[in-house]
Symmetry: C2
Subunit: 316 residues, 2 copies
């Protein structure tokens, strides 16, 4: 069967099991893979894309490398693993300027630094413009995808839907000069290094996932991994998201649920741990939103309306 | 300036310094990058290529993934670092068959196992056929590129020039049925896991490099890193290499020096350590060749003839 018909997620799910060790600190298909070594969980993650797929109008070239490292860092941080380093493989046509390769790499190095780790070199190849970042990280006990009945649903961060809005603006040619947060989220998406501060509260956390596939699909993945449903009570709306949606006649909840690529993290928190987790986040000024509860049969419901299990597919 | 004019090695050398930490266990531009953590050197390496660049006639699809992991493992093993795990990012067009993605991944998983580590997942993207493997590894004290005056030159392995011969056979359409070792080295190149056995002799080793860029360039890189010359006394010739070269009127020393892609390892050994290193290699049946000495001004000489500083460039 062709990949386009099979679907990217089915393919990834099938490939993720090939050779994956039974005794790994995270199950196959989780946000990152890893092994236990030197008394810790050491995680490894790779993520790539063609430049044409992510380039928005007005985006500097350095943002290509920045985004690749950010995508990897986001997966590692969502597992509460502290990044140790990153590498960047680039594909560029022979006629490309050296400056482009340099800009991508500098963007990757800046992102790595923003996540507390160095860039550790890379690889260059002739080919259509693409990058693949990889990174490794260390955790005491990484947080898998999952959730338990009764858990509270915590959305860390305040950029839900903003990158989706930036992508929407790119395709409709909309001006973003009055939307600096949307523009920033589109060009320089950020993973949340602050997630590592939740390490001491690990015993109150049942599971987590990075939100890069879009909030809706992320919730589905947590629900399926935990064998439990998600009851959404409310969604977080950034003021710029509301203004942008109003200007262009869009439903803001669609952008928040299906926009994707914002690299925030979604957590399932034991009810008895919520006060401690909330206190830490508030004390450290980390934006967040308590959005609902894990309960009932597998699925995602928002005010009793089902939320579609859909996300981006590279092959469609 | 365009990458094609600038050259891949100049580009890699420039990019390798971007953001690279001063206190790393290996210098920028070495076979792998890394950090000190948990009391050890933890190395990270990435390597990729377009499938069209490595596909030889008759090569099974699984060999694509195998080779990507082998290329990474070879760099890590040459540093005397024990692989912990690998990941594989694949680019395939949407109309590609699912079986191809599966074959690449299975080949990668088999290679990972051959180097004592698991495959830990990966990533899929739409695009022209390409793979990027990444891997991490642990070492007490990784072996950098380099050499010292008076060191003996040790070529570990016996496959020098065999992959080069397989590539030559592909382009001239030569039949390899009488050359099983050349065929195997072309389709299923192997890194030397046995290198890890040299760990206890680390104090006798000044430096090392993986030979994937071709023996000539590898010797140049060791010489330049050490600020010392290479005096080659002899080269190792596999019997199939000699027969193949004779059949096709080729100079076997050219294949050995410039063939490349055989993923063996070249070491600089202190003279007082040679008996111990030799005894270990012989005791464990690891093929090897003492090929010369590090001495004099930077450069590579074979019977007083200079050896060209050339290797493969993806962009030319």
């Amino acid at each position: 069967m062709r990949i386009a018909e099979f679907g990217e997620r089915a393919l990834l799910s099938r490939l993720s099991r090939v050779g994956y060790p039974k005794s790994a600190p995270l199950p196959p298909g989780d946000d990152a893979g890893g092994v236990f070594a030197l008394g810790r969980a050491l995680l490894l993650k790779t993520d790539g894309f063609r430049a044409a797929e992510v380039r928005l109008s007005g985006m500097p070239e350095a943002a290509i490398g920045w985004r690749a490292v950010t995508a990897v860092a986001s997966d590692l941080l969502a597992k509460l693993a502290g990044p140790l380093g990153f590498v960047l493989a680039v594909f560029l046509p022979p006629e490309a300027e050296v400056e482009k390769a340099l800009a991508w790499t500098q963007g990757a190095a800046r992102a790595a630094r923003a996540y507390g780790a160095p860039l550790l070199g890379g690889d260059t190849n002739a080919g259509e413009e693409a990058v693949v970042a990889s990174g490794y990280a260390v955790a005491e006990r990484p947080l898998p995808r999952g959730a338990r009945e009764g858990d509270h649903l915590l959305l860390v961060g305040d950029r839900y839907g903003l990158t989706g809005a930036a992508i929407d603006a790119h395709y409709r040619g909309a001006d973003l000069s009055r939307y600096p947060a949307i523009r920033a989220a589109g060009h320089w998406p950020r993973a949340r290094l602050a997630l590592l501060g939740l390490g001491p509260y690990r015993r109150y956390l049942s599971g987590s996932a990075d939100s890069s596939d879009g909030l809706a699909l992320t919730l589905w993945l947590l629900a399926e991994a935990g064998g439990v449903g998600v009851e959404l009570f409310s969604l977080p709306f950034h003021p710029e998201l509301l203004a942008y949606a109003r200007e262009h006649g869009l439903a803001p909840e669609s952008l928040v649920l299906y926009g994707g690529e914002e690299y925030e993290a979604v957590l399932a928190v034991r009810p008895e741990g919520r006060p401690f987790v909330a206190a830490w986040l508030e004390e450290h000024g980390v934006p967040h939103h308590w959005a609902g509860r894990f309960s009932g049969p597998v699925g995602v419901r928002f005010s009793d309306l089902p939320v579609a299990r859909k996300g981006y597919d590279h092959f469609r």
